[in-house]
């Protein structure tokens, strides 16, 4: 187990302790098997009440997130892939260059982009965007389909106006490309919004 962990440490910048914690969690979710399936995520109760759980679970099985320049999706993942996806939420490093920081930021944004862009054509089309909006808003009575559609359209217009500038009424907006996506979310500190903070376990024991 220790050799694998050293290898994983090189791929991601998660600490050894965090890897062990995640490994335990992986085994718990997969019921001590070698690989995790989509159904295994259904056992997490807190996740079930999350409106975009489908997209989140899909993100784990999306090959684009495995940093191997591959596309498509898989049926089951091993611990390596699980850790790679988790590493998108790693803590912001303190002493790194501007370039590295920008690289990490783009990687995190790419993860979010992939979550929306389900057919992997490089753009988030109106359809895909509408889908996300509908998931996030309630389907049950309080908000009809038309309202949700209306909100999605309005939001899409907003995005278009930022990226392309004001459009003529008959111009057709293809969809949000990755660059537009980055531009829109420029103001937001992705590093702090998109990371999971592990509590400090008893570190005195680790010091030998």
């Amino acid at each position: 187990m220790f050799y694998r962990e050293k290898l994983l440490l090189e791929i991601t910048t998660v600490s050894l302790e965090q890897i062990t914690i995640l490994h335990n969690r992986f085994r718990q979710l997969s019921q001590n098997e070698e690989s995790l399936r989509k159904d295994d995520f259904k056992t997490i109760q807190d996740l079930e009440s999350n409106p975009i759980r489908f997209q989140i679970v899909e993100a784990f099985f999306d090959k684009r997130n495995f940093q191997k320049n591959d596309v498509g999706s898989v049926e089951e993942i091993g611990f390596e892939e699980f850790l790679t996806v988790m590493s998108y939420f790693r803590a912001p490093a303190l002493h790194i260059t501007e370039e590295k920081r920008e690289e990490i930021r783009r990687a995190k944004l790419r993860f979010l982009f992939n979550m929306h862009d389900t057919d992997n054509d490089g753009t988030i089309t109106l359809e895909e965007y509408r889908h996300v909006v509908e998931e996030l808003l309630s389907r049950s009575g309080a908000l009809g389909r038309e309202t949700a559609k209306g909100i999605a359209d309005a939001a899409m217009l907003e995005v278009a106006s930022i990226s392309v500038g004001p459009m003529a009424p008959d111009e057709f907006y293809e969809g949000i490309t990755f660059e537009d996506f980055v531009k829109i979310l420029k103001g937001i500190e992705i590093e702090t919004r998109m990371y999971i903070r592990f509590l400090n376990m008893d570190t005195t024991v680790m010091c030998k």
Binding site: E17, T20, L22, N24, R25, R27, Q28, L29, Q31, K42, T43, I44, Q45, D46, L47, E48, S49, N50, P51, I52, R53, I56, M86, F89, L112, M115, H116, V133, L136, L137, S138, R139, S140, A142, L143, I151, A154, A155, L157, E158, V159, S161, I162, F181, I184, L185, K186, G187, I188, E189, I190, R193, M194, I196, R197, L199, M201, D202, V205, M206
Partner: protein, 443 residues
Amino acid sequence: MEGFWTVALPVLKVWFNSLVVLIMLPAMFGISLGITEAYMKILIKTLEWATHRIQRASRAEEILKHSSSNSLIQRNDSSLEQEIEDLRRNRPKSAERGDFTLSDVLYFTRKGIESIVEDDVTQRFTSEELVSWNLLTRTNNNFQYISLRLTILWGVGVVVRYCILLPLRVTLATIGLSWLVIGTTLVGFLPNCRVKGWLSDLVHLMCYRILARSLSATIHYHNKLNKPKKGGICVANHTSPIDVVILANHGCYAMVGQVHGGLMGVLQRAMERSCPHIWFERAEMRDRHLVTQRLRDHANDKTKLPILIFPEGTCINNTSVMMFKKGSFEIGGTIYPVAIKYDPQFGDAFWNSSKYSMVSYLLRMMTSWAIVCNVWYLPPMIHKEGEEAVQFANRVKSAIALQGGLVDLAWDGALKRARVKDSFKEQQQKIYSHMVVGDDSSD
């Protein structure tokens, strides 16, 4: 072959006789010869030594078994509204209208990943991890080779458990069960009178004591004054099917359950003959009114034994108490709460029914070192005026959790098997959509 039997038979006879004298008879009359105490002392000493060895060998292993701190990640306690406001504040100035932005997705994504890393409920359905090792590989998820001496000790432990303890316990259990069936059937022939009730109690107690010995169960009863009385309802937290034996070892209860076939069915019919229990046909269980009515009739009759109910509905791993189903609390009558806490050091009593069948579970129980548990009888509680059944159930649940040192959770035990109701998912959506639509200044 002949030679084998001439040797084996007297050995068996001696063994059987010693069994009867040393274990069964004292068990039946409720006295203790001190053998169990000596056994436990030796066991504790051995386990302490084993733990010491592991600790000395590698200190790093300890943090893996840190069961005291339950949370792994730091969660942001702010609500949905606050976080989304925060996210929106950073929007570019040119786009002030529009009610929905991509950044809102960030909040939900993060919450989702947090729950994947750590989740309150799933933790409760796997067995508790121990801080020290009790020489049973089943309780140590990170079993590694530490030293030769420890491995030999473990090997000796396996031999003792499987070759000495297991046959002993199986024999005792068989004797106990058959005596239960025979005894209750005999008592059933008597006409209804006080003597019958007294004899039936005696038979039940004796048999349950033998069964408790067959599991090497050491039980400490606290607050015996609050023991459930006739005409009341006893509620307890549920960890395994053995809970019944633990409680019935000390007092007599009327059991509630579904009618089974096979061996269980034989037991049920026999017990029914000597004193009234409540067994439901499968079809009857769907009719809630019928169920409540029968339970109410039983409870109202002050000569009948207290009913034993486990309101959680399923086995929980004994670190927490889950939602109590309100059905048992609508019956009326006095509720006697009981808290049961097992000591995981000697054997893990939790029955993970999705992982182990009943038979393999019983096998595991009988090859553990011992079952040690504490039973607290809590003072009786009654339904207050104007209190809802659900509130009453929660009140009782909190009392039990407090006494047993368990965590009080609001989640439903049935989530072990089923999925979260869609209404929970919709709740999150409702709050969020309220925010978005409420902001609607355009159009």
